[in-house]
Amino acid sequence: MRLGKGFKKVGEFNKNKRLGKKSGRKQADSSSTEYDGDMRNVSRAPLRDSLKANIEHVRRTTGGSPDVVVRKFVVGRNPGVEAAALFVDGLVDDKNVYDFVLEPLLQSNIPPQKSGKDLLDFIENSLVAVSGVERVSDWSEFFSGLMEGSTMLMLDGVSLALKTGTQGGQFRSIEEPTSQLAVRGPREGFTESLRMNTAMVRRYIRNPYLWQESMVIGEATQTRVSVMYIQGIANDKVVEEVRRRLKRIKADSILESGYIEQFIEDKTFTLFPTVYHTERPDIVAANLLEGRIAIFVDGTPFVLVVPALFIQFFHAVEDYYYRFDIASALRFLRVLIFFLSLVAPSAYVAATTFHQEMIPSALVLSLAAQREAVPFPAFIEVLVMEIAFEILREAGVRLPRQIGQAISIVGALVIGQAAVEAGFVSTSTVIVVSITAIASFATPTVAIATSARIIRFVFIVISSMFGFYGLVIGLLFMTLHLCSLRSFGVPYMSPLAPMIPSNAGDTILRKPIWAWKERPRLISQNNIIRQEPYQRPMPPHRTGDTPPADTGDKSPANTGGTPPTKTMEKTPASSGDDKGENGE
């Protein structure tokens, strides 16, 4: 938002951008008024010698904001050098600032130095007791440091400033995540602090090869973004691609990971998400171990995980903590539910308007009896009811939690019943629409549920025009579209299509944990072996209870099993294709 300097038309703004020109403001270069600049281009001019001038510049750039604290003091005695510490109140950890930055500087036994520069060296090397100490020489780095919560130290006569890492401030404490609840499993959820989030993940993966790369995205917001991956498991090419896409973003504001998601996703004009987001560190850790890459954005507890596959959106974290039978059954149920929420209303419309012979004779009488009283055709009824449900759902989201639940239930029951009795809709339509709504709530990930909501309407329209034929064609279109999507190079529908049998044990049905031998092949591509074979729990060997002699540390951890004679070593998929195609 550019206020105050005239309102440019959007086209012109874009035109200038496209042509690579900066906005029509005065250019910020060192030859002219170097103090100017604007939100998107903080000036790159160097600091000056005079402390007073520097402080003045800071005051002017920040508009005299009272939370930018300037603490002037004198360093050393005989002679003392004038100095100032600048920080933003609220962004810094007070203890660090006062105890570990200011206090050492305010001592009286600082030996005199030859020059200001030497004094600065001395301060940097021997006095300041915090980490993240750096020298900055130009204003953009200065402000970047200041605005992230570092304390900037300036000495009179030195055109450098010292940036000390004193970030802190109040953050939300670690709470249970609200969006992905689990009955069994850790109850930690991410918070808005990037550092805390990465630390939480590090607690799950205490391995030095969990690498992190940091960058700043967003011209105005200067948001810190961190990319984490496990070196050696994650596909280097995908990491490179992520890096490339993130660096390409040149936007004003990055307020939430959703912004990043929309900038880096593979395909915008699709109804399906290709980037997964989560609030739970255990999910992020599990995905990292499979070779995926996590993107943390400061200021939001939602962390992005790429590459994302369709089947991932049907996985709940508890599936892995429970045993395989219940996990498989629940997953299967979820897929069924998703499918139901997608086609139930359209199937109802198709059956009652085109294919009445499909309905058993007894049921068709009931349906016909109900429809007698209703003036609208089935299609309109279903459409109206669906829209009504969407309205109810939106209303339920906005209301405070306690009232929201009551209103949803009351709304659904009462309004539905009243509508039936008034003769607007028939009971069977209410049932169908309710089942659909419940099914859409049961979809584990909101992203997919949203896709289903929209597609459902399209299907209703198609099936009202062409019956089951239309529905099948619609499903074909949807499947074709799904199969053509890729998420960072990996086909969206793998490991179902292309079918990779070794990975297919974690799609709808889940293999027991001792059978997870390999990581998802298309995502990690190297270091595929996840665990040793023969992990299956077995009772102790019959003859005596002493386990057989160890033949090396490759034996399984349990007793009694025959040690493997050879380990499984797979070479990385050799398709040679850079996007990790259907290697087989």
């Binding site: 009652t352 308007t353 012979e357 068709v364 009931s366 016909a368 429809r371 089935a378």
Partner: protein, 406 residues
């Protein structure tokens, strides 16, 4: 590029708004036909009647029969030179589109059956809306239209009642057969078999059958009753087998599932009742020197469920004797049935078809006068094996022999 897509979207939206989703029909625009009746008028025209259900009075009605709603269905009929023409004429009398997808019953009037059903059935078989799994019955003693009009006490729609009657009666009693349009049509064109269709009759005051008062008393005035088996020759109804003779015929056709046999004991007729739980029949053709013969083997398994005389059912010898009596009884019934069919020269059992399938070369010689010559002279032997499984919950008779009446 974007412009092209925009235009395409606009075009697609327009097509959605265009009138006529051609094959679409709202449920309440349809007249759901649950049964079809076909009759022959005196002028030789076809009269087609349909039982159109009134859904509001059938489902969702809180009280049963005679309540606020009215009759559960209406019978509408029209005449024409062919079933199709009659069908079209019915639209003059109806406010909705006739929908045959649920027409599960076809009632054919006797006069039409005697003239020949092939023409009528052809229209039904060819039509894609009508399902050939619908059941067929012949209206006996009254027209199909009158049959359709009778209101039934237990099922609201008489079509459902008749279908259930057919199905359960065949399963439990074995005296009637449940045949669908497809089978009938198939058999008509087969050269080695004659078809049989169950007949249906109205017992009681026919005229009152169509009124709602019929079902408002505990004993309805007019009732639908399955009555006998109609035998078809070349698509025409030839004669009726009365109810007491149908079982033998159906047994050989392997259509009997459960039934009852009673045998005489110690001079008392019908003294022991044997209930057959499972029965299986195998019919095997044999050809010796150009002479055809059929061997029929019957297996029956059942329990003794009724004894009117004191008989010790723990004694294996007794059981054996009873078994022999039962086998003899079945044998008598089946051979009588075969003899009757032979006299009438109608091969309802499909013996001819058996020869066609197993001895095709010989069949070609026999085919021409199968019904007139070879079938009546066919050598048919019946072998029965009946097993008494249990005797209910009681084994020995009462110690005191008391002269009990009854």
């Amino acid at each position: 590029m974007i412009g092209k897509w925009r235009r395409l979207v606009v075009v697609l939206i327009c097509t959605a708004v265009l009138p006529g989703c051609w094959s679409q029909n709202e449920l309440n625009d349809l007249a759901l036909v649950f049964a079809i009746g076909l009759d022959l008028t005196e002028k030789g025209e076809y009269e087609m009647s349909v039982q159109v259900v009134n859904p509001g009075n059938v489902a969702g009605a809180t009280q049963r029969g005679g309540g606020a709603g009215g009759v559960p269905y209406t019978v509408i009929s029209a005449t024409g030179d062919s079933p199709m023409e009659a069908n079209l004429k019915m639209s003059l009398k109806l406010s909705r589109i006739l929908y045959y997808g649920h027409a599960n019953l076809v009632v054919i009037g006797e006069s039409l059956a005697r003239k020949g059903v092939a023409h009528a059935l052809d229209a039904l078989e060819r039509n894609s809306e009508f399902r050939t799994t619908s059941r067929v019955v012949i209206a006996r003693g009254q027209s199909a239209k009158e049959t359709l009009k009778v209101l039934t006490p237990i099922a609201k729609v008489s079509s459902n009642q008749i279908q259930s009657m057919l199905s359960h009666s065949q399963t439990l009693w074995g005296h009637t057969v449940e045949i669908d349009v497809w089978e009938l049509f198939h058999d008509i064109y087969s050269t080695g078999v004659n078809s049989v269709v169950s007949g249906i009759n109205i017992v009681g005051n026919r005229a009152d059958g169509a009124k709602q008062t019929n079902v408002q008393s505990t004993e309805p005035e007019a009732r639908l009753v399955l009555d006998g088996l109609g035998v078809f020759k070349q698509g025409k109804l030839d004669y009726w087998i009365p109810t007491n003779g149908t079982r033998g015929v159906l047994w050989i056709m392997n259509k009997v599932r459960q039934t009852n046999i009673t045998v005489a004991w110690q001079g008392k007729p019908e003294a022991i009742g044997y209930h057959i739980v499972r029965t299986n029949v195998s019919v095997r053709p044999h050809m010796k020197n150009g002479k055809p013969s059929i061997k029929i083997r019957v297996e029956a398994l059942g329990d003794i469920l009724e004894t009117l005389v004191p008989v010790n059912l723990a004694d294996a010898d007794q059981i054996n004797r009873i078994e022999k009596l039962i086998e003899h009884s079945i044998w008598k019934e089946l051979t009588a049935a075969v003899r009757n069919m032979k006299e009438r020269k109608t091969d309802v059992f499909g013996f001819g078809e058996q020869f066609e399938r197993n001895y095709p070369k010989d069949w070609r010689k026999l085919e021409a006068d199968w019904f007139s010559v070879h079938f009546p002279q066919l050598d048919v032997s019946v072998e029965v094996n009946a097993i008494i499984r249990t005797a209910g919950l009681r084994i020995k008779p009462f110690k005191r022999t008391v002269e009990l009446g009854g």
